[in-house]
Symmetry: none
Subunit: 294 residues, 2 copies
DNA sequence: AACTATTGATACCTAATAAGTATGGAATTG
DNA sequence: CAATTCCATACTTATTAGGTATCAATAGTT
């Protein structure tokens, strides 16, 4: 017995007419007649009565029809599900992240992920917040690590952490006894800022911090990622205000990190993704990225 | 995809070794390798990983294994059930009955049965009680309609009805004013009896009835069925005492039926069958033969 | 009532495919 | 390091599915 036999039987049972069933199956009528007879011989059971050129199901045949229908239904569903399992475990996960993300942590999560999803290919895109939002909306990213706020009703947003700011200046050996001295120094220093087109809210916060310190920053340079900003500071081109978490990640650079006091302005780092994206790998990633932050 | 593919897959999944699976399937290893590859190609899903001469199931493969097991289990069960349906509906039902059974009723039940079990072949055997008991015990009859008592622990017995007796004499126009006149007449008449070897208990009852009427019967003829007995009475060869139910069945014969008074002797008609006989047709017959008597 | 058309079954033939053998490349085992 | 074993692939053979022709029986049409 093969599935072919069951399919032929099922079709004859539906048509109750060998010739019509053969047409439906794209074979001619004699092989269909033979295959049904083979099935009946193998079972030792008459599934159809043929009388006066009319075909009808026996009681055994009627029962078998119901069972065969159920078997085909379950087989089709199984095929579909194995295909889904395969697809979610052997596809691609496109991850966007902002340049200030602590990549060591991201790497740890991805390393752990290879054990669970050995066939998943991860693509990492270091791109700014607004660009990520668009890409997520267009389905060109599966998940993004970016800064709030995320103005999009298509995306689900989950808080990762709150990141305060620190001042970063060239490693000059300078020290400041008071925050006022620091402010005076910064007022006379050239500033290197993020390109506000990429993260307008982030820029607004920097302006607010400077305002709270009592000066207006002189923005001389703009860059679109923190590596460039830090390298420019290290080279002595200017100063900046950056998220605190970068201190840990870039601890070895020849720059000075100066913590601020009494300025409760910070930035919220979030995960964003489309809730309609049902990828198993994505779900795993979100769950594990979040829990490794605890 | 055919059942062959699923069986090959299932076996490889169990063995996690192509060569061992091939041995189990009585084929050589290369065709097994190809058939698995064909299955994976058709599904578009990798079911096994082959690494370092080791075979393991992918997640999709592990899921599919469970599904394929369930599909095979259901198919095997379905095959078994269709075989049972076929067997119970297209076999044979061997029915024994005593000659005094009201055949019109039996015929009615069998006619109704053809609608429910159109492929059942019924074989009717008009045979005496003791012969029926032996045949039932030996499995040569499926069911018997016979007279109690049925001394057999292999058989289940169910009461059909209680049948009193009546006197049957040739249609002579004779009438009797009292039961004593009848008794005097019978005392001087030749008796036609059942062969007591076939139904000893039945014979004993007849002897008892005659005793209660005050005479001993002169048994001149013996026969082994009521048709013969009745024909002999009609022909004037003698008289007999028979079950009351025969009056309805043989109402047109040229004989006289004379009911007896104050003689509470009757015969019990029963169904008997082996409880181990699970035939659906038998079950239907018993149920319907009983209920049509109500 | 006679004739024609249609049905499912069977015989014979051809095309397609399953399975066999030989062998390769890679890894394991002794 | 050599021998053995594993699964995959190439080529060949055996088996089987499906095709065509046709039969016997019945239904439908005239």
């Amino acid at each position: 017995m093969e599935l072919r036999h069951l399919l032929y039987f099922k079709t004859v049972a539906e048509e109750l007419h060998f010739r019509n069933a053969a047409l439906k199956l794209f074979i001619s009528q004699p092989p269909l007649s033979r295959q049904i007879k083979e099935l009946e011989d193998e079972l030792g059971v008459l599934l159809f009565t043929r009388k006066n050129k009319r075909v009808s199901l026996t009681d055994a045949g009627a029962y078998f029809k119901v069972e065969v229908d159920a078997i085909f239904a379950r087989l089709e569903e199984s095929k579909s599900i194995v295909q889904q399992i395969h697809k979610s475990e052997s596809g691609e996960l496109k991850i966007g992240y902002i340049s200030s993300v602590y990549q060591s942590h991201l790497a740890d999560v991805l390393i752990a992920m290879r054990d669970v999803f050995p066939h998943i290919k991860t693509n990492l895109f270091e791109i700014p917040t607004l660009t990520q939002i668009k890409a997520l909306e267009q389905g060109n990213l599966d998940v993004g690590i970016l800064r709030a706020p995320v103005h999009s009703d298509q995306l689900t947003v989950q808080t990762l952490f709150f990141d305060p700011f620190i001042v970063v200046i060239p490693a000059s050996g300078l020290t400041f006894n008071t925050q006022a001295e620091l402010a005076a120094y910064l007022k006379n220093s050239p500033f290197i800022f993020f390109n506000k087109d990429f993260a307008p809210s982030y820029n607004d916060k920097l302006i607010e911090i400077c305002g709270r310190m009592g000066f207006k920053p002189t923005i001389v340079h703009e860059a679109n990622n923190v590596h460039s900003i830090l390298q420019l500071i290290e080279a002595g081109l200017g100063v900046s205000i950056l998220p605190y978490s970068l201190k840990r990640q870039y601890g070895n650079l020849k720059v000075s990190y100066i913590e601020l006091e009494n300025i409760p302005v910070n930035t919220e780092v979030v995960l964003a993704y489309k809730p309609t994206n049902k990828s198993a790998a994505l779900r795993w990633f979100i769950e594990n990225y979040l829990s490794e932050l605890e």
